[in-house]
Amino acid sequence: MGTLRDNWRVILLVVLLAGSTVALFGSIGGAGDDQGIGNDTAVGASQGPTNLVYGLDLSGGTRIRAPLVGVTAEEVEFGNDSTGQVAQNVAAELQGVDATDVTARQPTQDRAATVEVTTRNVTPDDLGAALDAAGYQHGDVRDGVTEETREQTVAVISNKINQAGLSGGSAQTVSTSTGEYFVLIEVPNEQRADVLELVSQQGQVQVEAYYPVENNSTGDTEYRRQLVLEQGDFQDIGNPEQGQQGQPPNVPVVIRESEAGEFQRTMVETGVASQGGTFCTYDENPNGTQPCLLTVVDGEVVYSAGMSPGLAEDMQSGQWESNPRFILQTSNYSEAQQLAINLRAGALPAPLDIGPGGAGTSSYISPTQGENFRMNSLITGIIAVLAVSGVVFFRYGSARVAAPMVLTALSEVVILLGAAAWLGYPLDLAVIGGFIAVIGTGVDDLIIIADEVMAEGDVKSRKVFQSRFKKAFWVIGAAAATTIIAMSPLAVLSLGDLRGFAIFTILGVLVGVLVTRPAYGDILRTLLTDR
C-alpha cells in the first residue's frame, strides 16, 4: 500500500488523463454544451472524431460585436403622464425622432424611471434639452441604453437568427471593464454581409394606406398615409411563398380579431377596398395613383400594391372580418423571407451601432480557412513540441530523464483539451496560444525538477529526493504564481479574443503545478532510486 500512497500524484495524473480521454472521445462528453464558461465565443459545433468544439477562428463564420445605439435619461419624473404620452411629448421636442424611437420606462425596484431615445444623431444633450422643453425633471443623461432594452434586443436578435435558420448562431451581451456593453453575435458558416443584413435592420414592419383626398380650400388632390397595421396586429404569420400566376412573392398573415374590424373599415374608408379592386402605381406615379397599401420596413416603403377585386368585395360586404386573412406582398422571395423573419422576431428595441462610423467590430473567416488553421496550428504545435524534445534529449543525453519530461508536458495538453471538451469551451487560435504557453512553462519546471533532483551525484535515498524536490518546488511555485498574476488581467478584462488564452494558460499552470509536474518528480524518483 505504501507505493500507492507514495505515488498518489502519478495515480491522479493517470486518472486525469483517463478522464480527459473520455471527455475528448467518449459519447457522454459535454460537447456542444453552449453553457460553457467561454461566454466570449460560445458557438461552434463539435466536428471530427473528438468532442472538441471549435470557435469561429477554426471553423469559419461571422462574428459581430457592437454597442447599441441610444441615449438614456435617468430618474425622470413623469408626473401623471403615461409612458406613451411621455414618449410622444419627448419625440415632439426632437427633430426627426418618431414616438416609436422613444421608450419611457416606469420605475422598478432597482432603478428610477428612464427615458431612452434609440436613434442615431441624438446626443445626451439633445435629450436633456428635449426633456426640459417637455417639462420633465430628470437626472443624468448618458450614452447607452437600459439593461431591459439590451436584454430585449439580444432576445430579438437570437430570435431572428433562429427564424432565419442559421444553426449554431448566438447573441449575447458582453461588458468591458470600462462599463460599456456590447452585443456579441456569432454565426458559424455564414458570410458577414448576410448576417449584417439580418441583424442591422431594426425590422420594424408597418402597413400603411396611401390614398388621395380632396383639399377643401384649394380643390387640389393630395395624398395621405395612414398607419393601418403594426407588428403586434398579426395573429399568425405564415411561411413566405414564391409567387405564382402573376402573384408576387408574399407572406400570408392572419390579422388579430380585435384589429380586423378596424382594418376592414379603414380599407373601405380610404378607398383601398373599392368596387372592382384598386390598381396601384405608387412606384411610377405616386401623385396619380389609385389608393395603395404600402409595406414599410424601418420607415422605407419596400412594396406597394392595390387590392384584388375579390378581396375588395369581401371587405365592402364586411365578410372579410370573420376570416381575416391577408397577404403581404414583396418584390422578390428573399424580401419575403426577410419580412417573415422581421414579423416573427419583432423589431429591435435599439439598433446595433455598426456600419460606417459605428463603434463595432466584425469579422468573417471562410470555413475552408478555419479548417486550414485547425490543421496548420496542430502541425505548428507538434513541431514546437519536437523542438522542445530535441533540446532536452540533447541536453541530458538520457532518455530516462528526457522522455518522461516530454510525455509529461504533452499530458498537460491532453488534460487541457479534455477540460475544453468537457466544458464545451470553443477552441480558437488564442486557446492554442495558451497551450503553447503551458508547454513552455511546463518544460521549464520539469527542467528545474530534473536538475535539482540529479544535482551532485546519484539520488540514493527517498529522503534526499524529498528534500531536493521541496527546494525545486519553491522555485516552481513562485514562477507559477507570477505567471498566474501576469495572466489574470486578461482573464478578467474582456479583451475579446485573448480571454481564452489567459484562461487556458492559468488553468494549465494550475494543473501543471498541482498535478503533472510533481508527478514527473515521482516518476523520476522511481527511475533514479530503484536502480
Binding site: 505548428t380 523542438a387 534529449f393 503553447i436 518544460v443 521549464d444 507570477t482
Partner: protein, 296 residues
C-alpha cells in the same frame, strides 16, 4: 547520445560595473527607441488594426505569379495600407485604414465591379471601428501595466529584500522593453498576439531570475558555485523555450497564422534579452548585494 552542457563562465574576471554596463546600455538604447517613436507617432509602438481601427482582408488571388499585388491594387479604389503575402496558401493579407467602409470593400470582392476584382476571393475579413480600437488599446496597455505591477509585488513578497527583488523587476522590465524597441525597429505592429506575448514574457522572464536568486540567497554554498548551478538549469530552460519559439515563429509565418507568429517572434526577442539580463544585470546586482550590500 551526445549531451551538451552549459559552459561555466568565469565571472571573477569582470567587475560588477562591467557586467551591468552591457544590459544597461541596451536598455537605455531600447528606451530611446521607444521614446523617439512616441515623440514622432504619439504611441510607444506602431498599432495594428486591432488597436488603431481599420479593416483587414485575406484574399485568394487568381493571378499569375508576381502580378497578384497589382491586381489587388487595381481592384480597390480605396487606399490600401499594406499588402502582405502568405506563402503557404498563396493568399494575401490586405489592410485598409480606419476611414474605409468595410461593407464596400466586401462588396468589391463579392460582387466584383471590375475585372481585377473578379480575380479575388474572400478568405477572411475583420474590421475594427476606431472607437472600439481605442478601448482595446487602453485595455491592453492597462493589462500589461497591472500584470507587471502584480508581478513586482509578488517578487518583493517572495524575497523580502530590496536589492534582489529590484534586480528581478529591473531585468523583467528590460525583457519587455527590448522586444518593444525591436518591434519599432523591425516594423512589427502591436496586435492581440504581441500583447499576449508581452504578458507571457512577464511570466517567463522571471522564472530564470527567481531561480538564480533562490540558488544564491536561499541555498548553502559559495556564490560562484550557486551561480553555476542556477545557470545550468536556467540556461537550459531558456534555450528550450527559445528553440520552441523559433520553430513556432517560422512555421506559423509560413502557414500565415498571424496570432501564433506574433506570439513567437516577441518571445524569441524577449527570451534572448532575458539570457542577457539574468546573467549580466541580475547577477551583477546580486553579487554586489552579497559581497558589499549585505555588510552595510
Amino acid at each position: 547520445m551526445v549531451a551538451f552542457d552549459v559552459p561555466e563562465v568565469d565571472y571573477t574576471r569582470y567587475t560588477n560595473r562591467q557586467l551591468a554596463a552591457v544590459p544597461l546600455a541596451v536598455l537605455a538604447l531600447a528606451l530611446l527607441v521607444i521614446v523617439a517613436t512616441f515623440a514622432t507617432t504619439g504611441a510607444p509602438v506602431a498599432l495594428g488594426t486591432e488597436f488603431s481601427g481599420g479593416t483587414e482582408m485575406r484574399l485568394a488571388v487568381d493571378a499569375p505569379d508576381g502580378q497578384a499585388e497589382q491586381v489587388i491594387q487595381q481592384a480597390f479604389d480605396t487606399e490600401i495600407e499594406s499588402i502582405q503575402s502568405i506563402p503557404s496558401d498563396g493568399t494575401y493579407v490586405v489592410t485598409f485604414g480606419p476611414g474605409t467602409d468595410p461593407a464596400q470593400l466586401e462588396q468589391t470582392v463579392v460582387n466584383p465591379p471590375n475585372d481585377a476584382a473578379q480575380q479575388l476571393e474572400l478568405v477572411s475579413l475583420s474590421t475594427v471601428s476606431a472607437s472600439f480600437a481605442g478601448d482595446s488599446q487602453r485595455l491592453a496597455l492597462g493589462g500589461i501595466a497591472v500584470a507587471f505591477l502584480g508581478m513586482s509585488l509578488l517578487v518583493f513578497a517572495l524575497f523580502r529584500t530590496f536589492v534582489p527583488s529590484i534586480a528581478v523587476v529591473l531585468s523583467a522590465f528590460s525583457d519587455i522593453v527590448i522586444p518593444v524597441a525591436l518591434m519599432n525597429l523591425l516594423g512589427i505592429e502591436l496586435s492581440l498576439g504581441t500583447v499576449a506575448a508581452l504578458l507571457m514574457l512577464i511570466g517567463y522572464s522571471v522564472d530564470s531570475d527567481i531561480l538564480l536568486n533562490d540558488h544564491i540567497l536561499r541555498r548553502s554554498g559559495d556564490f560562484y558555485e550557486s551561480t553555476y548551478r542556477a545557470m545550468r538549469t536556467g540556461v537550459t530552460m531558456t534555450l528550450t523555450s527559445l528553440a520552441a519559439m523559433v520553430v513556432m515563429t517560422i512555421t506559423a509565418t509560413l502557414f500565415g497564422i498571424q496570432l501564433l507568429s506574433a506570439i513567437g517572434i516577441i518571445l524569441v526577442f524577449g527570451l534572448a534579452a532575458d539570457l542577457m539580463n539574468t546573467y549580466l544585470l541580475n547577477l551583477s546586482l546580486l553579487r554586489w548585494y552579497m559581497y558589499e550590500g549585505v555588510k552595510r
